[in-house]
């Protein structure tokens, strides 16, 4: 698991960290508030060679770069028992795998716009973590999580539709530049979000199902996520990392904080796409100011908290340094099964209550919650493509 990189903390440190994080309000090592993200510096359009790119540096120095590249690809037909194009199309609606990651149901796409459909294979997402093989379980898990959120609802793949015979093949290359000091999910997710917002595809000049040719004027190229007066109407999803310690819910935890988590979740949030007709659109516009965004919950995954793999502390009762009889006879007696001793670190067992997990998600999604803040912050980033 990606998250279970051994944080080299002694049981004493762990116990202290856990205690301070369990206080109300929690005291975090870097002095952040419980629901405060690491400050970040972001820029987009850093790579002219790509259709869209973004770079984000978190204050703690972790840095990621995402590049999006699109290529025209002929749409495969008639594989796996489909006869004519229509049958093929309709059968493809529900999407299937990107790198084996399930895409969520695209059937919604079918109902409103029957002729345009997307396939999840049209998106290829790869994650590069320094010092990790790309088939490493953790890397696969990250890629799966990001793709899962991106493709949920099938709306995204639909954007890549050119005509019945051709589509865009979108390659997302996600690079973690810095050594992964913390679990990189939030960083990678935010960077991907920006890169996709900045992504533009050449304007299509051909009509119908003929072989497509495009306007080579880059300025005329439309954004993948359509803009209304410089503001994207729909937005890519973001994945947030949330963890619970004691009674506290902590967002965007650092590696050390994650090492004492009782439970950690990755929550992927999308934003409701602006509705089609103009009337509803500006109605939605008005609504957005008072009501804030109307978010969608796209995916939730449990992150295996590394706390389970931390070494347990030894209570004074059994610590030979404090002259406990038993331990002198058996110097390396393993920790006895005993009640949790106050202030002595013990790796958590079991899982988390359903209510706690629900609270984590709730906290992330609620109006004016962290998801809102993050999206607002990302809005502030001006997009150069």
């Amino acid at each position: 698991m990606a998250s279970t990189q051994h944080a080299l903390l002694s049981p004493a440190e762990l116990a202290y960290l856990h205690a301070s994080l369990s206080l109300t309000p929690p005291i975090r090592p870097d002095g952040r508030a419980a629901n405060q993200f690491r400050p970040l510096a972001a820029e987009t359009g850093i790579l002219p060679g790509t259709n869209g790119s973004a770079r984000i540096c978190f204050a703690d120095g972790t840095e990621a770069i995402v590049g999006v590249k699109a290529e025209v690809e002929r749409t495969r037909r008639g594989d796996g028992g489909r006869e004519d194009g229509v049958e093929y199309v309709s059968s493809r609606l529900e999407g299937d795998f990107v790198e084996g990651v399930s895409s969520g149901e695209g059937a919604i796409a079918a109902v409103d716009e029957a002729d345009r459909v997307g396939e999840s294979e049209w998106v290829e997402l790869s994650v590069e973590i320094p010092g990790a093989r790309d088939d490493d379980a953790g890397t696969v898990f990250l890629a799966a999580m990001l793709a899962e959120a991106l493709l949920a609802g099938g709306e995204f793949a639909k954007k890549l539709w050119i005509n019945r015979r051709f589509h865009w093949k979108l390659y997302l290359d996600i690079l973690l530049i810095s050594p992964p000091l913390s679990y990189p999910l939030p960083l990678l997710s935010l960077t991907t979000h920006l890169a996709l917002l900045a992504t533009r595809l050449p304007r299509l000049k051909s009509e119908g199902d003929e072989d497509p040719f495009f306007d080579d004027d880059w300025a005329a190229a439309p954004y993948l996520y359509a803009r209304k007066d410089g503001k994207a109407t729909a937005r890519p999803p973001v994945s947030l990392l949330v963890m619970a310690v004691g009674n506290n819910i902590i967002f965007d935890p650092s590696k050390e904080e994650l090492a004492v988590a009782d439970v950690a979740l990755a929550v992927s949030v999308g934003e409701e796409t602006a509705t089609t007709t103009a009337a509803e659109a500006d109605e939605a516009q008005q609504q957005q100011q008072p009501l804030g965004r109307n978010l969608r919950l796209l995916s939730v995954r449990t992150i295996d908290p590394p706390s389970r793999l931390t070494p347990p502390g030894v209570p004074n009762a059994t610590n030979s340094a404090y002259g406990a009889a038993t331990t002198q006879k058996q110097p390396e007696a393993r920790a006895a099964e005993s009640e949790a001793v106050e202030g002595v670190w013990k790796a958590p067992r079991g899982g988390a209550k359903a209510l706690v997990m629900a609270a984590l998600v709730q906290k992330a999604l609620m109006r004016g919650g962290v998801a809102d803040e993050v999206l607002d912050a990302l809005d502030a980033v001006d997009l150069v493509a």
Partner: protein, 412 residues
């Protein structure tokens, strides 16, 4: 239960010439010494109990302990009991020539065209046959067949086999790395054993001519297209090919069925080949291919959902593999040693323990299903020893026949 350890077989503890070592070890040892827990940094401390091993005349160990410590003498003492009254039996309670009962369940997998689950003792293997279509256009070195007539002569039969092999229409693969036994953990390339098993099955499939290539061909018959009976399949194609020779344009061969035969060991307890081969046979007999007709304008074979034809495996008969291992009295037979001065037992259908202790194994593939029920030996493989000679082999043929009937009955 306890397992008495007679003085006769006391040497089990040290195996070959280890006695001296043990004695010396005993001398250097002070019986009165006690373990010193203070010396905490060490794992082990040879306790005085060592001498007690020697001291106690009738030292006894539980069966599993004995088996673990020294498997070979353990099996040996089982096979050659002290008292003549008790007849020799193996550690698994079977008689030397007794095989494990075979159970076969077929067509349990719905995604495969044919499947079988074969269980003999604790060896369990699942076999799934999946057919895919190989258009002749995809075959690089494709040579159109001269004669379209159903092949009858021996030469044609030979040609058929050549066809099967040339186009690789049979693809057997054996997966052992499923954790079916502690030594087969996944995430590793196929072990040598897995590779040899796969190739053995592969060659045996071809040498026995189990599958009739006729049933793997997919034809296109324009005239049949004319009189449109939906879903013109290969078999029926053959028929009306026979009855009216005077067709305007002859049907031509458009594609082949390729049979992917995948074997998965769920549980492994020795003698994998017999189980695997039985599974392959059972699965092939269970295989039903959908009727396929060539669609010229879409240039692909279209299959019928409903009509299926069973795969024709009649020609190959029913070859059954029967494996035995030779267990020798002396664990380490000195190079020049003749079989005579070294008692041996032929253990049919060996399990994991026995396989680990036997070096010589023999596999005989027999088919008693021929006309008049006479036995035909389809293949013999024998490695790792010199014990089994001509007469033993002849006797073994009898054993194999018995085994054949067991398997045949299980197949029904």
């Amino acid at each position: 239960m306890k397992f008495p350890l007679g003085s006769s077989s006391l040497n089990w503890m040290y195996g070959r010439g280890r006695q001296s070592a043990a004695i010396r070890n005993l001398e250097t040892h002070n019986p009165t010494s006690t373990s010193h827990p203070e010396s905490d940094s060490d794992l082990l401390h040879t306790a005085d109990s060592y001498s007690s091993i020697m001291a106690i005349p009738s030292l006894s160990f539980s069966r599993p302990t004995f088996a673990k410590l020294s498997p070979h003498p353990y099996l040996l003492t089982n096979l050659s009991p002290q008292s003549p009254s008790t007849k020799p039996s193996r550690t698994n309670g079977r008689a030397p020539h007794e095989a494990r009962p075979v159970q076969i369940h077929t067509s349990s997998l719905s995604h495969a065209h044919g499947s079988a689950l074969v269980r003999s003792g604790n060896t369990t293997v699942v076999c799934g046959v999946r057919a895919e279509i190989l258009p002749v256009t995809n075959i690089p070195q494709y040579r159109p067949r001269s004669s379209l007539q159903p092949s009858t002569t021996a030469s044609d039969e030979a040609a058929d086999r050549a066809e099967l092999k040339a186009y690789d229409l049979l693809v057997p693969n054996i997966e052992l790395a499923t954790g079916c036994a502690p030594q087969f953990l996944p995430g590793v390339p196929p072990s040598t054993l897995a590779q040899t098993l796969s190739t053995r099955v592969y060659s045996l499939l071809h040498s026995c001519g189990v599958v009739d290539p006729k049933s793997l061909r997919i034809w296109h018959d324009p005239s049949a297209e004319a009189k449109k009976t939906t879903g013109e399949g290969d078999a029926s194609m053959q028929d009306d090919n026979d009855d009216d020779e005077s067709e305007a344009e002859p049907p031509q061969l458009m594609a082949y069925w390729v049979l992917y035969i995948d074997l998965l060991f769920v549980s492994f307890d020795g003698n994998p080949f017999d189980a695997a081969w039985t599974a392959v046979m059972a699965a092939l007999r269970d295989t039903k291919l959908p009727e396929a007709r060539w669609d010229p304008d879409r240039e692909m074979a279209i299959c019928s959902r409903t009509r299926k034809n069973p795969l024709d495996v009649s020609r190959g008969g029913l070859p059954v593999a029967c494996t035995a291992a030779v267990f020798q009295e002396k664990e380490y037979a000195e190079a020049g040693g003749l079989a005579g001065e070294n008692r041996h037992w032929v253990l049919l259908d060996p399990d994991r323990l026995e396989e680990s202790l036997c070096r010589e194994t023999v596999t005989m593939v027999v088919d008693c299903g021929g006309v008049g029920g006479e036995t035909r030996i389809r293949s013999i493989e024998k490695q790792g020893g010199t014990v089994i000679g001509r007469e033993l082999m002849r006797g073994f043929a009898g054993v194999a026949e018995k085994r054949w009937r067991e398997v045949r009955d299980a197949m029904q």
